[in-house]
């Protein structure tokens, strides 16, 4: 960020500030009575707590759930939630709480990998489209339009139909699904940055295009991309578990949330907890990612 700000401050006259470093978040004076902190604080705090638990479950699941998620106990099959089995047990007597906790790692890894893939692809497409010539922009724009015309799950399903089901297919499929939307956002931001006084002055100063790209454009794009990633992980987890739920992702014995839901589907009428708790965890993950992403976004915009 230093080269950006030094370029800015050395400019004479009142240049409009580009989307460079913004005012620091801190106490701002507000006239009138003190505002109730409200959901502006409560929701992000809840989301951050949820995210901490999820990360803890993904890194050291045995701290939160010492029971083996794959240990079979046929005598205790289909136990409803109780003190010994908080979330109940499944058809083979496996402890569902332990399975949900241990499922955090594969589920979040698939979601994170898919988001990383989608964002990486989008970064290449978006930057090339936003910074390249008119023809490149038009070509990539058409490609993105076609990818958007194959909506969400359909694009993923077409890919699975061609490549066959599996975990790596799920990651690529979900990554492909999310890439075009991200590419549009990144393109418009690259466009805006390209026209900013900061980049213009760097160009007038005779900096090499590669230097401008790596020292000015990419550092400034990093913030928005991180916001997109935070917002996207939750949706990617939903997509990936939807594929497992449909029987096209991770297979049931594995403790992955979507696969657990798929297994619970058969016993929906008799063992509601097999569906309810893994699904609730997915909802919590997605909601936490949305709330955190949006509060990061607000902070980045300075609103």
């Amino acid at each position: 960020m230093t080269p950006v700000s030094s370029t800015m401050s050395s400019l004479p006259g009142p240049f409009p500030r580009g989307p460079g470093p913004r005012r620091r978040p801190g106490p701002r004076r507000r006239p009138g009575p003190r505002r109730w902190p409200g959901p502006g604080v409560i929701l992000p705090a809840l989301a951050a707590t949820t995210a901490c638990f999820l990360v803890l479950a993904a890194v050291v699941p045995w701290w939160l759930a010492p029971t083996d998620p794959l240990a079979i106990d046929p005598g205790a099959a289909f136990s409803s939630p109780s003190l010994s089995h908080w979330f109940g047990t499944d058809e083979s007597g496996r402890d569902l709480y332990s399975r949900v906790v241990h499922g955090a790692r594969p589920s979040l890894l698939i979601g994170a990998a898919a988001t990383a893939l989608g964002l990486g692809l989008a970064l290449v497409l978006g930057l090339a489209s936003g910074l390249g010539g008119r023809w490149l922009d038009a070509g990539i724009g058409r490609l993105v339009e076609v990818m958007l015309a194959l909506p969400g799950l359909l694009l993923a399903l077409v890919f699975i139909a061609l490549a066959g089901p599996g975990v790596s297919t799920t990651i690529v499929a979900v990554g492909l699904t999310t890439a075009p939307g991200y590419a549009r956002i990144i393109r418009s931001q690259a466009r805006a940055l390209r026209g900013s006084a900061m980049i213009e002055s760097a160009r007038v100063l005779g900096h090499h295009p590669a230097k401008i790209l790596f020292r000015h454009l990419l550092p400034n794009a990093l913030g928005p991309v991180l916001v997109l990633a935070t917002l996207g992980v939750g949706q990617a987890v939903i997509w990936a578990s939807a594929l497992s739920f449909l029987g096209l992702g991770e297979a049931p014995p594995a403790p992955e949330w979507g696969a657990m839901l798929a297994a619970g589907r058969t016993y929906l009428g008799s063992a509601w907890w097999m569906t309810f708790f893994p699904g609730l965890t997915i909802v919590a993950t997605a909601a936490a990612s949305t709330v955190l992403g949006r509060s990061l976004q607000r902070r980045a915009v300075g609103a």
């Binding site: 958007l148 077409v158 139909a161 061609l162 066959g164 578990s241 449909l246 929906l268 569906t275 699904g279």
Partner: protein, 333 residues
Amino acid sequence: MAGQTTSDPTQTRRSSRGAPTAWRPVGVWLARRAASAVFVLWAVATLIFVAIRLIPGDPAEAIMGGPGSQASAEALESARVDYGLDRPVGVQYLTLLGHLATGNLGTSYSLKIPVSEVLAAQLPGTLGLAVGAWILAWVVALGLALYSGLGGRGASAVGSALEIAAASVPHFWLGSVLVLLFSSAWRWLPPVSNGTVAGLVMPIVTLALPLAGFLGQVMRESMVTALNSPFALSARARGESEAGVVLRHALRHAALPGVALSGWALGSLVSGAVVVESIFARPGLGRTLLEAVTLRDVPLVTGVALVSALAYVVVMALSDLAERLIDPRIRGR
């Protein structure tokens, strides 16, 4: 001549700039939309065709009963000849394009009947489901936006929390929980779609709620921005009531991003339909697609993809029209 035209200005306007100029932009617009539709359909077909060739696997196996079939070499060979898979790639591609241009979508590998027949049979169910869910999602989202626009800060916070919750709920879980509550516990609604209106309630609600959450978020944000803008202030200064400001001025602004997101909403509905039709055992395009994917029935998958892409192009054109209707600022363009 010159005197005549200057003496009657209305006549001049009509003769030189009347009907032709009023209709030319419409013609250009239609032509551009049609060209874009043809391009998107061609690109989708081409992308899938190329992807099939890039990814290992023998389509003949899929014809003979899916992956892991025990078909003999001769049977595979005859299937290849039947479906034209033995010919050079270029010929296959041109044949595909020729067939598509005449509306022939090929024969399904698994069902052995024309893809267009399958699509025609499955489309109405999905269409009804999607349109119903779309309407419900708009009603809920606009309701939330109005509620938070009229209800002040507390209402806005509640609306925001509700929207995030709705947008975070996956279709497959929402559907399961609704079945648990309304079919297993209370026995109000049938757990599977049986063709009655009652059987349609849960699928539509399942499909609509997550979409309503997303639409509500953008609509409320736009509504709040509009309510804080100078034109809202001047309307208030003219003595307009707060309800009047919201209904007469801010509502348009709230609806605009929702309309702009129509293409994306369609995607959400199509994706959701795959899951919802699977949960509620409803016949439809989504379930057909899922079965086709499992059996690697490439022509059928391509057919569903083309129908969905066509729907996307049509929806984008309609949303463009709707935007012009709602927003006078862009009408001239």
